[in-house]
Symmetry: C3
Subunit: 120 residues, 3 copies
């Protein structure tokens, strides 16, 4: 951990490699996580819809899962640093705002499972 | 928010556009969410398995993430409205029941991150 | 429930059918779940990044969602059984460890929505 999922609507001309690099740098920059612990993925959404009225559906949303135990203040700071880092490398839309949101959730430390497969 | 993910097994002849429209209408109809706040995606699963015995694996599952603070009664009503709306537009299977389930989870309001990219 | 999502980086030569079979057998083997309740999917990640430095990014991560109400001890045992079962059928990398992790999260039982579509 942390485990990060970045989703973006397929109508955005976003660069997943750039988003991942920016996100991981931002997470490392918070000082909360070990460099080798950050594991991220980026998903381009194919089917999506914003609201019910006719409009351009466009959004970026990240789900960051961290082990439980950090203060609200720390979590808030991490979520906001991530939102800003992502917003800085999402291309703007000509005709719509692009909301960039971060859901920071806690994984229960006591019940986190792990196994490591050695090189071979 | 709310953020909705609808997953369906790839052996169902479901229409993602229709599922998204029905889901967002149902969420708006609960009176709990602003129209512009509803952000949904639909994912067709390619690799899936129901149980361990030989059977037709088929299911629809939605994860609805809403900000924390609503009562259990409200959340229950929202989850059930969504399950029914989805079930109403999933095509039936000739030889199997199709379970449609909704996991309603709460996102921590205090640590939700947000940035908005202006049109440009 | 349980609902399981297995993610693996696309540079691993993993077999999703085998991972799903092993995972569902392991979950059934814990004695905690009904055979027909286990619903799993496997996702091959296309865009991912481990940390910020130059390295081979490789990982397997599972998110297991179960209904709330089991003890920490039970959940720990389930998560560990799953991690070991997955590790046993992930192919090793020549030049890197492969971390296999399991996030066991609880779905709120009171607000879980369900509808069943009869065969037709």
């Amino acid at each position: 951990m942390p485990h990060l999922v970045i989703e973006y609507t397929g109508n955005l001309d976003a660069d997943p490699t750039r988003l991942l690099a920016a996100a991981n740098e931002a997470l490392l920059g918070t000082g909360e996580f070990g460099e080798t612990d950050i594991k991220s993925r980026c998903v381009r959404l194919e089917h999506y819809r914003h609201g019910v009225e006719a409009r351009r559906s466009v959004f970026v949303h990240a789900t960051l899962s961290i082990l439980s135990g950090r203060t609200v203040e720390t979590r808030k700071r991490v979520a906001q640093a991530l939102a800003q880092a992502l917003a800085a490398c999402v291309p703007p839309c000509a005709d719509a705002e692009v909301p960039v949101t971060v859901d920071l959730r806690e994984m229960q430390r006591e019940t986190f499972g792990k196994a490591v497969l050695p090189p071979g």
